[in-house]
């Protein structure tokens, strides 16, 4: 009977254990959910720093970009420096030195190689000291190395102390290692205070207290010291930076926000572009902009008096520890240039060819040029334009990354868009998967709002659209993780320019019907 009972209990337990190890439960269902609602105006789409609102509610767009920069790294390069010493001891006969007794004490001036630049001082964030010491002395010695010129933030010179093991049975001992040099100011004026690129160091060698007996040292003993200072991260420098010419040659910078435009045209007005030179370096410069070109539908060179004309750039100066930069500005507008055509060309790249001459008048500062890593020489463009334009078949194509997590379970579905367009702009939106030309959005045309006689929006236009995603399209999107969106914009009342106001907006409600495989783990 007991066996029977056990058998039945076993079956019972097995049933329970089956429940614990079951597969996930899944089924297909059709859900309808609201996804999003809201309204977007121009000021919601554009970053706050890129626009300003005028008293009449029109909008100005600001665009600022650095075109060229000359920084500390380009002017003062602090290369790795090899600082070696060989000490052949000057004792013709062997002399015994007691533990703790110093037998080498040697201050030195050493040249700190800095290419063509003549520095009186510099400061660093960090650097690395690699050392290798080889000794033939038959006893343990202590090697103290001090860079007297390098003073840390506490006013102490950089110093290391290394135990050099004893040579054994005529075989030299060697020790090497790496030490981080902390933030410090380096004075390169030498012991006289009038030098350049010169550092002061002191080498001390004494008998280690670990020796129980005096050690014998003679002129047959040698101490080889190899120090290398490398990976210097400079903060600032002072001296004479030489006369040098920096040339960009023909180069380009991308204008990402216009990169997606593939065809069409826009009309703009009242564009102002400032070319701003800001010099934070304590040296004079001479700058020549050989060319500035708009590389879009065509290549259009900027025609303005600044092109091809040398500009003198004054040096920055210091008040106490503060650096006062030198700034100059050249206004480029439609009355003194072809800036309208330059931008209506819809440039995806801005081409430039710039030459900058350092210290064109020589060492006029008496080795008091200065440079700080946070105060370079900058050439910026600062563009301001009213958001008033016409666009004609302005076509933007972009490939959007989408990521459907495998766990989403969505098989197919439809997105419903209810739009209330308050912009004087109609758009034809074409959405397709990466490998299929069939359009997912129906209808594709989003009509613009109606305008009054002053080209101001009178009545927003309401439209409904469906984005149908079949099972095949969904599978393709899950695989490629991309969709292609093409938008063709046309302003109303062509060819007149239309002002955009800060209260224009696009209201929307988005809901979805979708078939999904629900999975319960």
């Amino acid at each position: 009977m007991l066996k029977k009972v056990c058998f039945i209990l076993l079956i019972y337990t097995t049933i329970l254990s089956c429940i614990k190890n079951r597969e996930p439960i899944n089924w297909e269902a059709n859900y309808s959910i609201p996804l999003a609602h809201g309204s977007l105006g121009v000021t919601d789409i554009i970053s706050d720093s890129l626009y300003s609102i005028n008293p009449d509610n029109t909008i100005n767009i600001h665009f600022k970009r650095n075109l060229y920069q000359l920084s500390l790294d380009s002017i003062v390069e602090l290369p790795d420096n090899q600082l070696s010493n060989v000490f052949a001891l000057p004792f013709p006969v062997a002399i015994d030195f007691n533990p703790g007794q110093t037998f080498i004490n040697q201050p030195e001036e050493q040249n700190f190689s800095i290419n063509s630049v003549e520095l009186k001082d510099f400061s660093i964030e960090s650097a690395i000291l690699n050392y290798t010491i080889t000794s033939t002395i038959q006893g343990e010695v202590i090697y103290d190395y001090t860079v007297n010129s390098a003073i840390d933030i506490n006013g102490n010179p950089f110093q290391i102390s290394i135990v050099v093991p004893a040579a054994q049975n005529g075989i030299s001992s060697q020790i090497s290692g790496t030490i981080n040099i902390p933030a410090s100011n380096w004075n390169l004026e030498g012991s006289s205070g009038n030098e350049i690129n010169t550092i002061l160091t002191t080498v001390n060698v004494k008998v280690s207290e670990n020796n129980l007996l005096p050690i014998s040292v003679s002129n047959l003993d040698t101490l080889y010291i190899d120090n290398e200072i490398k990976a210097i991260v400079p903060i600032s420098a002072r001296g004479y930076f030489g006369e040098e010419i920096f040339q960009t040659g023909l180069d380009t910078t991308k204008l990402d926000f216009l990169n997606s435009i593939v065809s069409g045209s826009i009309g703009l007005s009242n564009i102002e572009m400032n070319l701003i030179t800001n010099n934070g370096i304590g040296t004079d410069f001479r700058m020549l902009i050989n060319s500035l070109s708009s590389q879009g539908n065509n290549d259009i060179d900027l025609n303005h008096s600044i092109i091809g004309q040398t500009q003198n750039i004054n040096r920055a100066y210091k008040v106490g520890n503060s650096i006062i930069t030198s700034e100059s500005n050249q206004l480029i507008n439609s009355s003194n240039s072809n800036i309208n055509a330059f931008l209506e060309n819809l440039p995806s790249d801005l081409g430039y060819d710039i030459m900058v001459e350092l210290n064109p008048l020589g060492n006029v500062s008496g080795h008091n040029d200065f440079i700080h890593k946070d105060f370079p020489l900058n050439l910026d463009i600062d563009l301001t334009t009213p958001l008033a334009f016409n666009s004609n078949q302005l076509t933007i194509i972009d490939t959007i990354d989408i990521d459907f997590p495998d766990s989403s379970g969505v098989n197919y579905g439809s997105l419903y868009l209810e739009l209330t367009n308050g912009f004087p702009l109609e758009a034809e939106i074409l959405i397709s998967t990466l490998n299929s030309p069939s359009q997912l959005l129906d209808p594709a045309l989003i009509s613009g709002a109606t305008l009054n006689s002053n080209n101001i929006v009178n009545t927003p236009t309401v439209s409904s659209h469906v984005l149908n995603v079949s099972a095949e399209s969904m599978e393709e999107m899950k695989t490629s993780k991309k969709i292609i969106i093409s938008a063709i914009f046309n302003t109303l009342s062509q060819p007149q320019l239309v002002d955009f106001y800060d209260y224009y907006n696009l209201s929307f409600k988005i809901s979805a019907d979708f078939n999904t495989t629900v999975t319960v783990p």
Binding site: A29, S32, L40
Partner: protein, 404 residues
């Protein structure tokens, strides 16, 4: 009479459901001195879900369209599905060792229970999705569920007429949720979901220890046995009525959510292009309603009434009764049936029941009885095991071993 009963037996097999009852082998003892009883039972059932779906719930797999349609065709306004599993071991000593009047008993029980009660709208919106409810109201009123795992120890006194005991229950885990009133309005274009919900959800501090120090219950077990025709020694028919676990439970720092609010969901509110990166689900709503608190509630109890036995010399005895489990999404279950005594040791029977987690159910059972052993096997799930469209399945084993 025999023809009628045989006819009932026959047609019962055409029904397709089965449900478990608390059939204790001890009930069929004519006299009791000392006994040990083992009892185990498991049941899963629903008022509308076919076993093909119910099996998916515990085995996993896919619920296909055919299963969904079958389940939908049987939907009522209010529907149930549930699973219960119990194992207990008891020792009975009916000799008058306490106050020279009463015997005593000890019992250890482990119970797992999972059940849900829901509206047809709730089911369809979950399983088929809410697309069919565009422009309509999803009624959720009276929907709720529970998940429960208890271990309990009981100690009590007994004689031939009654048992009275006290039970300590360790609540290993408990989740209870109930929507008293409410539902979800789906706008015609599905751009707005308007949920009006009045309900709660409680989730206990779970424990893997045999006795959970945080959550406990204290209750009374009471059972009375009343002989029918007690003056006629030719009859052994009796009414057995009882209640188990009537008392209170304490849940310490249970997670509690109470909702009595109207939530309007229109998707993510976009006021800036960066808002598109935000989650479309309002994660902060439930967080803000969450609180951890200690609760003192009624312990879920079980109430039962069984009529068994009959004229001793008769081959056929009728049986009927009812069962109810509180706070378990369970409706009152009533049953009636008959058993045929092939000889003094072997009996088979069948019952028809209605209620509980299921609707109309049918089950068969067999019982072996000797001087030392009474063992019963209730195959309430017999048909449910073979027909995928049946609505329940279960097994109940009970064995009582009489000590000298």
């Amino acid at each position: 009479m025999r023809i009628i009963l045989i006819t009932i037996f026959f047609f019962q097999y055409l029904l397709i459901c089965g449900q478990l009852l608390n059939n204790s082998a001890l009930y069929y003892s004519d006299s009791l001195s000392q006994a040990i009883q083992f009892q185990g039972q498991s049941y899963i059932g629903s008022t509308h879900l076919p076993m093909s779906i119910t099996k998916v719930f515990y085995r996993g797999g896919t619920i296909d369209q055919q299963m969904k349609e079958k389940a939908a065709s049987r939907l009522n306004k209010l529907n149930r599905v549930g699973f219960e599993s119990m194992f207990n071991i008891s020792y009975f000593n009916n000799r008058p060792v306490i106050l020279k009047k009463y015997g005593f008993y000890l019992n250890a029980t482990s119970i797992a229970s999972l059940g849900a009660e829901y509206t047809d709208d709730f089911y369809l919106a979950t399983i088929d999705g809410n697309t069919a409810y565009k422009g309509e109201y999803i009624n959720l009123q009276q929907s709720g569920f529970h998940s429960r795992f208890y271990n309990s120890l009981a100690l009590g006194i007994m004689n031939n007429k009654f048992k009275l005991g006290i039970c300590y229950t360790s609540i290993q885990s408990e989740i209870n949720a109930q929507i008293y009133q409410g539902g979800i309005d789906v706008s015609a274009d599905a751009t707005q979901l308007d949920a009006n919900i009045n309900g709660y959800m409680t989730s206990s501090n779970n424990s893997s220890k045999l006795l959970n120090p945080f959550n406990w219950g204290l209750g009374l077990n009471f059972e009375i046995t009343n002989l029918i025709n007690k003056l006629d020694s030719n009859y052994n028919s009796r009414i057995i009525a009882g209640i188990n676990g009537f008392g209170v439970q304490k849940l310490t720092l249970a997670n509690y959510i109470y909702l009595d609010t109207n939530l309007v969901y229109r998707g993510a509110h976009i006021q800036n292009t960066s808002d598109f990166n935000n989650s479309i689900l309002p994660t902060n709503i439930l967080d803000s309603l969450n609180e951890n608190l200690s609760q003192l509630n009624f312990l879920p109890f079980e109430l039962y009434v069984h009529k068994i036995g009959g004229r001793k010399s008769a081959k056929i005895h009728s049986c009927y009764g009812l069962r109810y489990r509180s706070l378990s999404n369970y409706s009152v279950l009533i049953y009636a049936g008959a058993e045929y005594h092939f000889n003094k040791t072997f009996t088979m029977g069948s019952i028809v029941s209605y209620g509980g987690y299921s609707s109309l159910n049918q089950g068969i059972f067999a019982r072996y009885k000797s001087k030392r052993i009474i063992a019963g096997l209730n195959t309430n799930n017999f048909i449910g095991l073979f027909l995928k469209n049946s609505r329940g399945t279960g097994i109940n084993f009970s064995m009582c071993y009489f000590l000298k």
